[in-house]
């Protein structure tokens, strides 16, 4: 069924059900097309969406089985990230279906010929798509390499860049560092003489804001204790009053727990 235009009052009645995804498809698309032009109804929806999230959050709590973690992570690991192969997969059944149609038409001799040809074309298509995908992958890698090299520079020359000098703390008196921060482009951290990390630990970079410390990213120094890296952090957090590097369990933590190794006030 296609979407039937609805007037404002009719849509208004349906927004609550739309917010929890409980409308049938035809009514849903009618509501959605009205929402695009009506700020009042969009505001009504925005006020109801948190109710949907809350309903998901109030279910009885159950601890997931311990073995599930490994299973879930292993399954993701063998899953390719979105690729271009899908288009070929979409073609193959279509070609096969085309071949079957010709057979059904009764011209079986001709059809056998065609089917063979379709098979050849399918194989050629597969090879061509593989090559195209490979080419795309290489271009993507090259672009990423260039972007990786350019990004720190972009931070350093940003009009809004700020430099925050970091001083080694008692646990790492010889260490020192500098953070360059551009709200629009990210953070570059450089540091030297950071002590080697014990196994299972990582350094974590924080912006201490007026509200709370915000995790900017994890930092692993090289063998000489040096760090020179871009942390892509363009969040909308408040202005930092200080920058700190702490030692934390691998993977990082939500709020700092370990010793501070580097600290600097952001003037």
């Amino acid at each position: 069924m296609s979407a039937v235009p609805l007037d404002h009052d009719a849509v208004r009645e349906q927004i609550a059900l739309h917010a929890i995804g409980a409308l049938p498809p035809d009514e849903r698309s009618a509501v959605e097309s009205h929402l695009r032009g009506c700020t009042e109804c969009a505001a009504e929806l925005a006020s109801l969406v948190p109710v949907s999230a809350a309903l998901a959050q109030i279910v009885p709590a159950h601890e997931p089985p311990a073995a599930l973690r490994g299973r879930v992570l292993a399954a993701a690991k063998v899953t390719a990230r979105a690729s271009t192969r899908r288009s070929m997969a979409a073609w193959a059944p279509w070609l096969a279906a085309a071949a079957m149609l010709v057979v059904a038409a009764g011209a079986s001799f001709y059809a056998a010929d065609l089917r063979a040809e379709v098979r050849t074309l399918q194989a050629q298509l597969r090879v061509a798509l593989d090559r195209a995908a490979d080419g795309e992958r290489r271009v993507a890698v090259a672009l990423r390499t260039v972007a990786d090299a350019e990004a720190p520079l972009a931070v350093l020359i940003a009009p809004d860049v700020r430099r925050i000098d970091l001083a080694g703390q008692p646990v790492a008196a010889r260490a020192s560092g500098r953070a360059f921060w551009s709200r629009s482009r990210g953070v570059v951290l450089t540091a030297t003489n950071l002590p080697a990390l014990p196994p299972g630990r990582t350094y974590q970079l924080w912006f201490v804001t007026s509200a709370a410390p915000v995790s900017i990213g994890l930092v692993k120094p090289d063998a000489s204790g040096s760090v020179r890296r871009l942390v892509d952090s363009r969040g909308d957090f408040p202005e930092p009053v200080a920058v700190a590097v702490t030692i934390e369990p691998d993977g990082g933590v939500l709020a700092p727990t370990g010793d501070k190794y580097l600290v600097g006030a952001a003037q």
Binding site: L17, A22, L35, L55, H62, A82, S233, G251, L254
Partner: protein, 197 residues
């Protein structure tokens, strides 16, 4: 002075870590997926279990969700809402799909959360989770609803039944079901608003 600030725990920091983890996934960092799992698996598993009812099915749902997150990390626009909100909606969507398959219905026949699977949660939609205090208030408000309103809402939200299926099951006219579900949701919204600072 900021030393005291440094020890404060903040939701903003968790949301920031999630966004950061998604960026790392795009670069192929599996540890980032593990981090997100550790932060949210308990809530997502509880939700999946509430919907599908059986432990093995809930486990399958979580596997589907995290595989999808891994695949689509780069396609989710984090400015549209919190990662946690996205995860919750993905989980509900996958779990409801499973129930529908069991009932012989096509996936997302009546509730199409797939629309938010990729990027767009819909005009004005804000996929943020509510605070623990707000959730407690909503739970109390839900329990305080008359059965006539609460039951249709729960059937729609946790079982993905269409309104006509709910009407059929409860032996109540369709129009009445719609009205009661709407009233229930508006009551819950009021409860949520009371906790707003």
């Amino acid at each position: 002075m900021w030393l005291a600030v440094l020890s404060t725990i903040a939701d903003a920091s968790a949301a920031d870590s999630d966004r950061f983890a998604l960026q790392r996934m795009v670069r192929g960092d599996h540890d980032a997926l593990a981090e997100v799992y550790d932060r949210h698996a308990r809530l997502l598993y509880s939700l999946a279990l509430r919907i599908v009812g059986r432990q093995p099915d809930a486990e399958d749902v979580l596997q589907e969700v995290f595989t999808q997150v891994w695949r689509q990390a780069g396609r989710y626009d984090t400015s549209r809402g919190s990662v946690a909100g996205w995860l919750v909606m993905l989980t509900r969507s996958r779990a409801l799909d499973r129930l529908r398959r069991e009932r012989g219905e096509p996936p997302a026949a009546d509730v199409d959360w797939a629309a938010i699977d990729v990027v767009d949660p819909g005009a004005g939609a804000d996929l943020r989770l509510v605070t623990a205090e707000q959730a407690a208030r909503i739970r109390a408000a839900l329990e305080a609803l008359p059965d006539a309103q609460r039951v249709p809402l729960e059937l729609g939200y946790y079982e993905g039944l269409s309104q006509s299926a709910i009407a059929g099951r409860l032996g109540v006219p369709l129009g009445t079901i719609k009205t009661r579900m709407r009233q229930a949701l508006l009551r819950l919204r009021d409860a949520l608003a009371e906790t707003a600072p």
